[in-house]
Point group: C2
Chain length 281, copies 2
């Protein structure tokens, strides 16, 4: 089958690579507003050809949108305008409510499957594409009752057979709440840590060389691109602000126990946090 | 030479392994209040023998303290009581002011070198010991004017030749400020994130399986042991609280921009945070 991938960055590039490698797609058509990304993706063999959005949508059985979420809400209605009953459109955005909302009344809404493959790195662009980025991770499909059964089946086949992901289904609102806590909050935290340390440590070259693996791990997500993350934060604003408020309470609680020199309380809070050991690999 | 390692956990075990492997020490004597740790360290070949603190200090040219910082302030004066002019005592604690303060007036203070090798993992105990944990990392030596030149030379040789680290020297107060920002704050942040998410996500097994690499990276340090970290937080309380306050300002600033839906400001803050790319590998 022919798959069109719109957006040839880390996610789109990695999807293209794995769908081709796994044999899910025999032909990949790429779309990207950056001529440089198109050239790179062709040179890297991520896509077989590049085309305009209109041509590329027409050419494919499955159309994947792997652009920033503010671009998804802009182009998804246009893509659905072009979509015919045999086609399936799948987005890869990290928010789901704003995206499903914008096509709620679209006559071709049923050809669209709202998805979020929970995988990525802090890098961006086609050169950041990696093989098996998605393998073993969770792909969340949202509001599938609003999609045609054959479109859902195609999306499930793509994520499970093509990308070797485990599939979970839930409502768009539930997704956005969980994503706020499990993904978006981590990015806010990491950006704030980077800003704090960059601000404090003027003599940065010497001092960052001091940093052990711990700092690098906690600050890694702060390398993530604004083009992708600003619109995620803004689209998921309410849930994210709730998550930040909850986080601040735990932070204040821990800071207060430290300020009081309350050894028992600090120990207890760290012990509670340590339960994460059982849940994270 | 014979080296005594007091505390056979992640740090002590890893130091013992590398000092023996590199040929810096032909014989390693271990000390640990846990009989189980002693047995494990012997079985793993991390140490050649175990002994009481008193015997082990007498047996060695170099004595390394790799126990939690609250234990270091307790046993360092006792170790220095036993120390003779030919011996060097080096601690590996993550705080330096409280530790140097407690032996300021000790007649054998000059045999002690206050050190902090900036390396570690979130694991603990002798089974967490890994080869080359320290290689290429920074070892900070503090207040070296208070140590005998031959003791400083021995410590430098140990960290550079034995553990292949890069050495930086600074005052204990400067160390504690930098450590607050570059290491201790990351742990506070990670504990608070783990507490927030564990608290929110009741159906944890399903939901944590959603977590991509980003969450795991940011929450990794929350696996770190309370036995080690509670005393670090309490000993470095003032600098750490200052770092937390600075961090909260940046967090609030970012949250405010998100709340306002201020795309330009959010973009700008993320762009500033992205400068961390140039500083972290």
């Amino acid at each position: 089958m022919t798959v069109t991938v719109v957006g040839l960055g880390l996610i789109g590039g990695s999807v293209a690579r794995d769908l081709h490698r796994s044999g899910f797609a025999h032909s990949i058509v790429g779309v990207d507003s950056s001529r440089e990304n198109c050239t790179t993706a062709l040179e890297m063999g991520l896509v077989g050809s590049v085309a305009s959005l209109e041509e590329a949508v027409k050419a494919a059985e499955v159309v994947i949108l792997a652009v920033p979420v503010n671009v998804i809400v802009k182009i998804l209605p246009k893509v659905l305008d072009l979509t015919t009953p045999g086609q399936t459109v799948i987005d890869m955005g990290s928010t789901k409510q704003a995206i499903t909302e914008v096509v709620k009344q679209h006559p071709n809404r049923y050809r669209f499957v709202a998805a979020h493959p929970m995988a990525g790195t802090e890098r961006s662009g086609p050169t950041a594409a990696v093989e098996r980025l998605f393998e073993g991770r969770i792909a969340i499909l949202c509001d599938i009752a609003d999609s045609a059964p054959d479109a859902v089946a195609e999306a499930k086949r793509l994520f499970s057979t093509g990308l070797r992901m485990n599939i979970v289904t839930m409502g768009a609102a539930a997704h956005d709440i969980h994503a706020a806590y499990i993904s978006h909050l981590s990015h806010v935290i990491s950006y704030a840590l980077a800003l704090t340390t960059l601000d404090k440590e003027r003599d940065v070259n010497t001092l960052f060389s001091m940093a052990g693996g711990g700092f690098s791990s906690t600050a890694r997500l702060a390398k993530s691109d604004a083009t992708m993350w600003t619109p995620i934060f803004l689209q998921n604003r309410d849930h994210l602000l709730e998550a930040i408020a909850a986080y601040r309470q735990h932070l204040d609680n821990l800071a207060h126990a430290i300020e009081q020199g309350d050894e028992i309380k600090v120990n207890e809070l760290i012990g509670q946090a340590n339960r994460i050991r059982d849940l994270l690999p």
